[in-house]
């Protein structure tokens, strides 16, 4: 249960007020419901007794009548408020969980980040946060609201009726209900996790089946793919059936428990009334309250049977590496220092790669072996060599996002490994082969590079990337891009990502095929523009194009 508690604690710390408002109103709804029924039962019974005794005229009808109306209308109003407050809290929780998830994922190892580009990985993560959406609304809220309502009802019943009756009703509901729900949670734990896993397997199977349709048909594998999809479907439905069985059984038990407690209250009330310990009207109050309090348990069974699914999802979401200290601090995110003092004690801003090798785990052949090179300030070096020779890997090593098995990468004469991430990013910029844009304005996309970006700087960077004309034609910096930067051509997206990288004004610029998708004249303009933008920077680029080689001072051949 630890991952779930962890997720709850996260929500509690961040959205305490919204959660508490929802809880308070939820308790109001349950409490007023019980009060309405209890008071009505008391009122009718007492009125009947007074009528029988001929004391109808002396009976104070005003206060109970007003109370009934108050509770009835108050409950309606509280219900409206509760629905709004809990939805608001849920939406806040949704956003909070997602922000936390992003922070964690952002700290994952580089290769894991690259894998996140796949649709399957993305839908898997979103399915996990979706599974956690019920954490507040279906689990934490009804649990807390039910417990508080029962505690309050216990006090009131003990005061108004009898301690033993109060213990019977509230204790019985809390303990019996707790046991039943606990059992349901346990019984549904494995199947509810399995149902989610089955659904995910089915989703992946369908993606594979659609994406590789031609391969599967031509190589006769479609029959097997259909069979596999059917098996995932069956597995997930069987697990769902088991969950449903547990949920309905829990519902049955809860109903019987509530009825048994109401019946016991009826018997106890009858006995106490017969002894004259309490009036029949007060005994009736207890019976009606017992009937109404059963509502505290109802909403919990859905949450209980989803426990397994939520726990698994929380375990995956929360298992992502803990974000570094600066981001977990409860304080509002302080902008990280934009320009830390230049490190390296004024050592020249040059990159030195010394005999590095890298072999991926379990691979028979190294991705890079024994590579050495130097890039001095103001120098442009192009890495050349056939596809797959390790150009991108070398850039990632230089950027400090991958670590070599042997040899070392030195920046300003210091190994990059121990240099703090913020310092490294302030000095070294890396444009990987595929870079992502986000929905929003062009300015918003550029502003990812730096806080407080002015329009003039943005235009200057667009100039350097030979993109000014395109952006002007689209309507300027405030023109909007669709999801993932949709609306720009491949070459335009590439240049916008380059402009964003340039805004970092790095001392070392690493570019992976920066002019991919551009025609030769544009490619030349871009390469000239970026050198003019960063006259002092060391530039290392991976290239397989003529224009990129021409722009380089030196070629370094790999493989």
């Amino acid at each position: 249960m630890r991952p779930l508690l962890h997720a709850l604690r996260l929500l509690w710390r961040a959205e305490r007020r919204a959660l508490l408002v929802g809880l308070a109103l939820s308790v109001c709804v349950l409490g007023m419901g019980a009060a309405l029924l209890g008071l009505s039962g008391w009122f009718v019974t007492a009125a009947g007794a007074a009528g029988l005794a001929g004391a109808g005229i002396a009976f104070d009808v005003f206060r109970p009548g007003a109370g009934v109306r108050f509770f009835a209308l108050g409950r309606t109003a509280a219900r409206y408020g509760e629905r709004l407050a809990t939805h608001d809290a849920t939406l806040r929780a949704l956003s909070r969980l997602r922000i936390d998830l992003m922070r964690r994922q952002a700290a994952a190892p580089w290769e894991a980040l690259m894998r996140l580009r796949g649709e399957a990985a993305l839908t898997r993560i979103t399915a996990d946060v979706d599974a956690l959406d019920g954490l507040y609304l279906r689990l934490a809220l009804p649990l807390a609201a039910g417990a508080l309502t029962l505690a309050g009802a216990f006090a009131l019943l003990a005061w108004l009726v009898d301690l033993r009756v109060a213990a019977l009703v509230c204790g019985g509901l809390a303990l019996g209900g707790g046991l039943i729900l606990r059992r349901a949670g346990r019984a549904a734990f494995a199947p509810s996790a399995a149902a989610e896993a089955g659904a995910q397997a089915l989703r992946q199977g369908m993606i594979d089946l659609s994406r590789a349709r031609r391969d599967l048909v031509v190589f006769g594998g479609m029959e097997a793919a259909r069979v596999a999809a059917a098996a995932h479907d069956r597995a997930s439905r069987e697990a769902l059936r088991a969950v449903d069985r547990v949920e309905r059984r829990a519902g049955l038990r809860l109903t019987i428990l509530a009825a048994a407690l109401a019946a016991a209250t009826l018997a106890a009330g009858g006995a106490l009334a017969a002894q004259g310990a309490i009036s029949p009207a007060v005994a009736a109050l207890a019976v009606f309250a017992a009937l109404a309090l059963a509502e505290t348990l109802g909403p919990l069974r859905r949450g209980a049977v989803e426990l397994g699914r939520m726990r698994d999802a929380a375990a995956r979401v929360m298992a992502a590496p803990e974000a570094p200290a600066e981001t977990t601090a409860a304080a509002p995110a302080a902008p990280t220092a934009a320009a830390p003092a230049v490190p390296g004690d004024g050592a020249p801003a040059s990159l030195r790669v010394e005999a590095v090798s890298l072999r991926r785990p379990g691979a028979a052949r190294p991705a890079l072996s024994d590579v050495s090179l130097t890039v001095a300030p103001g120098e442009t070096v192009a890495l050349v060599g056939p596809s797959g020779v390790g150009k991108s890997t070398l850039l990632a090593l230089a950027a400090g996002v991958l670590a070599p098995d042997a040899g070392q990468v030195l920046w300003r004469g210091r190994p990059v490994g121990p240099i703090p991430e913020a310092e490294l990013r302030a000095e070294i910029a890396f444009l990987p082969q595929r870079s992502a844009l986000v929905a929003g304005t062009i300015l918003e996309n550029l502003a990812l590079a730096r806080d407080g970006l002015s329009e003039a700087e943005a235009w200057a960077a667009l100039d350097a990337a030979a993109l000014r004309a395109t952006v002007e034609a689209r309507g300027g910096l405030q023109s909007r891009l669709g999801e993932g930067g949709a609306g720009l051509s491949g070459g335009e997206s590439r240049r916008l990502a380059l402009a964003r990288t340039l805004l970092r004004r790095p001392a070392l610029l690493l570019l992976d095929e920066p002019t991919e998708g551009l025609d030769a004249p544009t490619a030349r303009r871009v390469l000239a523009g970026l050198r003019a933008w960063l006259p002092e920077a060391a530039i290392l680029l991976a290239s397989h194009r003529g224009a990129e080689r021409e722009a380089a001072d030196r070629l370094h051949s790999l493989g």
């Binding site: 009808v61 939406l91 922070r103 994406r211 059936r241 049955l252 018997a267 596809s387 992502a436 397989h544």
Partner: protein, 571 residues
């Protein structure tokens, strides 16, 4: 129940009715049990009222109370058991519908032919995500509709009527109070229907917008890390999701009002019933009962009936969004089927290879609205299919593999007509190199040798792809994931050549196998194709690449698209 249905059924509603047809017998049985359960509450209410009135009137022995408690409990157990059984039947119905719809979806998706002209692999992204979401996320929404909404809809009719029937013989005034809300309820239901639909749409939209934002940010995480923009991203996400939340809450504030109106009337009804009964018992009110004044038993009985009059209506309102979601799913299914995509020939199952020399002959073929040239390709020939974009190169390859039906004319393979019967046996002799390889979630070994027949070591060597595999973590046991992450585009293409070599196919179809490759890698791919041809395989490539055209020996140039005589264009 018909009372609450929108009278003119939309196509989505008709579709939904058709979808739930297989569950109809189960749902009917479930409905009968649900209705029977609803009739038990008056018995329970009577037992409690009887016991309490006994205390007030005095003189009743404790055994009466115990007997009442027992009756109450037994009725409650019976009612719970009936509801339990009814729920099981309804779930069973939902499960049956889900199984049937998923099976249909898998069947349709797996047999879908090539999409409309000009959409190659990249265009399939949307549809594959769509089918996956439909199977894993949307179709399951039919289950709560059948298991929750349908019983709730029935109870919303049977429940109030049963309560009225029990209340009216005792007091016409109490029945009137309940009824006062009664005729208004269809109005509320309509209001709630509209408002709840809007609320649930807005909420679903909010979650999907939020997930869209999230997925986009996750996909951009490598950039965000490199730009040191984690905090900027978190602040930006928080600001955007706050905006979304504010807009959603504005809609919900209005949407929840209408269900609050129902709550309001139900609360008012209960309070008025309690006050009326109280005053009657005090003797202040002398009307409403039939003749004799209200007894305490009758008063309590009425009081206990009142909430149960409204409860089913509230349950129904709460379950309304289940119907809204189910209708949305039905609408999507309806739209997908109305599009009637073309189907492949055969079923893509393993088959014994078609016997005879692998001669290919086209005569008067029109596919996807394009006329294809009449040609005969002898076994072992190498042929480059060229022509401007949109001339039908991909269509020709797809037609030869039976991936789309031809609208006119005849394709002959190994002396037989290519049709539903011969397609699978013909494909047992084919290999295929797609332009954008997709790597399923399986070990590379299985991906490269799908028929389990080849010698991978030799094939990898011939395709010059040994090095590619050697650099992978776990080598041939590596799982590359969907986009081939872990290998470059050129490496992926060489792996596909190795697959073709390993398959020992008689005919290879390759779609632009050298597009977007650097010269050295393209040359390696071409050498691999040549080795295949030297073994006697018929190699047919669609290409623009002059080096590849030169290596093939023969060229079939397709003319730019000319409108053929009108044929019923398939998709």
């Amino acid at each position: 129940m018909s009372r609450f249905r929108r009278p003119p059924p939309s196509p989505a509603a008709r579709r939904l009715a058709a979808i739930e047809a297989p569950a109809a017998p189960l749902l009917r049985r479930s409905a009968r049990l649900t209705a029977a359960a609803a009739l038990l509450w008056p018995v329970q209410a009577g037992a409690i009222a009887w016991a309490i009135s006994g205390w007030v009137e005095g003189g009743a022995p404790l055994s009466d109370t115990l007997a009442c408690a027992l009756v109450f409990l037994l009725a409650a157990v019976l009612r719970a058991a009936l509801d339990h059984r009814a729920g099981a039947l309804a779930f069973e119905g939902g499960d049956r519908v889900l199984a049937a719809e998923r099976a249909r979806l898998v069947e349709a998706e797996s047999l879908r032919g090539e999409a409309a002209a000009g959409t190659d692999a990249p265009g399939q992204g949307a549809s594959s995500a769509g089918a996956a979401a439909m199977a894993a996320q949307k179709l399951p929404m039919l289950v709560p509709y059948l298991a929750r909404y349908r019983p709730a809809a029935l109870r919303a009719v049977v429940g109030p009527v049963a309560i009225l029937a029990a209340a009216a013989p005792i007091s016409w005034a109490a029945a009137l109070i309940l009824l006062a809300a009664g005729p208004l309820i269809p109005v509320f239901m309509a209001l709630i229907g509209v408002a709840a639909a809007r609320a649930s749409r807005r909420q679903l939209a909010e979650i999907s917008d939020l997930n869209g934002l999230l997925m986009e940010r996750l996909a951009a995480l490598p950039d965000i890390r490199l730009l040191d923009a984690r905090e900027r991203m978190a602040r930006d996400f928080a600001a955007r999701s706050d905006g979304l939340r504010a807009r959603t809450m504005a809609v919900l504030k209005v949407a929840f009002l209408s269900s609050t109106v129902l709550e309001f009337f139900s609360a008012l009804g209960i309070a008025m019933a309690a006050v009326y009964v109280g005053f009657s018992l005090l003797g202040t009110l002398g009307f409403g009962a039939w003749g004799a004044p209200l007894t305490i038993f009758e008063g309590l009985f009425l009081l206990l009936l009142a909430p149960e009059f409204f409860q089913p209506l509230r349950d129904f309102a709460a379950a309304w969004h289940d119907r809204a979601s189910a209708l949305a799913v039905a609408e999507e299914i309806e739209a997908a089927e109305a599009a009637e995509p073309a189907r492949i020939l055969g079923r893509g199952a393993p088959a014994a290879p078609l016997p005879g020399p692998a001669t290919i002959r086209l005569a008067g073929v029109v596919a996807r609205g394009r006329a294809l040239p009449d040609v005969e390709i002898a076994p072992g020939r190498s042929l480059a299919v060229t022509g401007p974009s949109g001339a039908g190169k991909s269509t020709l390859l797809a037609a030869l593999a039976g991936l789309l039906p031809v609208e006119r004319g005849r394709i002959e393979v190994a002396g037989r007509r290519l049709d539903a019967e011969t397609a699978d046996p013909w494909r047992a002799r084919l290999a295929w190199i797609p332009q954008a390889p997709h790597f399923p979630d399986a070990p590379l070994r299985a991906v490269l040798d799908p028929r389990g027949t080849g010698d991978l070591t030799e094939a990898l060597r011939a395709a010059e792809a040994e090095g590619v595999v050697a650099a992978l973590p776990q080598g041939l046991d590596a799982r590359l994931g969907e986009t081939g992450a872990g290998v470059s585009g050129g490496e992926a293409r060489r792996l596909m050549v190795a697959r073709a070599l390993a398959s020992r196919a008689d005919v290879l179809l390759a779609d632009e196998p050298t597009a977007d490759l650097d010269a050295a890698t393209a040359a390696a791919v071409i050498r691999g194709l040549r080795r295949l041809a030297e073994r006697g395989t018929t190699v047919i490539v669609a290409t623009h690449d002059p080096a590849l055209i030169a290596a093939m020996g023969a060229e079939l140039r397709l003319a730019p698209r000319t409108a053929p005589e009108p044929a019923e264009a398939g998709g």
